[in-house]
């Protein structure tokens, strides 16, 4: 340990500071997915330690944030598997919202309102504030819907695994994800794209 060079120590301290500055954001994401403060803190701590233990692995990665987020996702998946029983999805959470889908369409199957054109994804995805709004919209989803949606779209788990973990049928899962997307769309339309 004592043969560390001054440069190496400086780099390590710098890395440590950068990681600390990311901690609040990482915690928000971990909590959004795990909905358990202890588990979220553990996952973030494990991810940060993993980076600090092997700082060399980061060399050549596109950005520290990308790298840490990638590691955090793996740690979250570990915790999800451990918390398995607690997540067992109660699909009735969103059942009062069956109308969510039906209300969008007339009896003949046409849309009631014309969905708005959101423009070029590239220009939207360049804007940091867009992701803050998206985060708030995710927080506003019913809790379990948010977790399932994030397992699929953020952690990118395949549907088979999600169904197995949560005891859902695939068609059930597709509907939960469809509803989550409809809610997020409404939230983004209202709060980012400035429509309605």
């Amino acid at each position: 340990m004592c043969q560390f060079t001054f440069e190496f120590m400086t780099t390590l301290i710098d890395l440590h500071q950068q990681l600390e500055s990311m901690r609040p954001a990482l915690l928000r994401f971990a909590f959004l997915q795990l909905r358990n403060e202890t588990a979220a803190e553990d996952a973030v701590q494990e991810a940060l330690l993993a980076v600090l233990e092997k700082p060399d692995n980061f060399a050549g990665q596109s950005s520290l944030r990308t790298y840490v987020t990638g590691i955090l996702k793996f740690k979250i998946i570990d915790h999800l598997r451990r918390l398995k029983r607690e997540i067992a999805l109660d699909t009735s959470e969103d059942e009062s919202e069956t109308d969510l889908i039906d209300n969008l369409f007339k009896a003949n199957g046409h849309t009631v309102n014309m969905p708005n054109a959101w423009g070029e994804p590239e220009s939207t995805l360049q804007q940091k504030d867009f992701f803050r709004v998206l985060e708030v919209c995710l927080e506003n989803l019913p809790e379990k819907t948010a977790r399932v949606f994030m397992m699929r779209e953020w952690l990118e788990l395949d549907t088979e695994e999600i169904c197995k973990e949560l005891g859902l049928t695939t068609s059930n899962l597709w509907v939960v994800l469809y509803r989550a997307r409809l809610r997020l769309r409404e939230c983004l339309d209202l709060n980012w794209f400035g429509n309605h």
């Binding site: 046409h110 969905p115 959101w118």
Partner: protein, 73 residues
């Protein structure tokens, strides 16, 4: 023809499911035909694709200027 064409209600659902499972050849063909004549579902499809890309990008790299969407395949 009617049984072959999707309604907007069906097309919306298929757009969403297309993000979670591979669509069959017939589903893809029917969706493509529907989208080619329906602005409402075309816009909806654009919204869903943007949301999908955004979730992939979320926190992975949110600093302006460093977001590269071209690599998100």
């Amino acid at each position: 023809m009617r049984f072959f064409l999707y309604s907007c209600k069906q097309a919306h659902r298929i757009v969403s499911e297309g993000l979670d499972r591979p669509l069959s050849v017939s589903e893809r063909a029917r969706l493509k035909i529907h989208l080619s004549i329906c602005d409402a579902c075309t816009n909806f499809n654009g919204q869903m694709q943007l949301l999908h890309k955004a979730m992939h990008t979320l926190s992975v790299d949110i600093d302006p200027g460093t977001v590269s969407t071209s690599k998100n395949k």
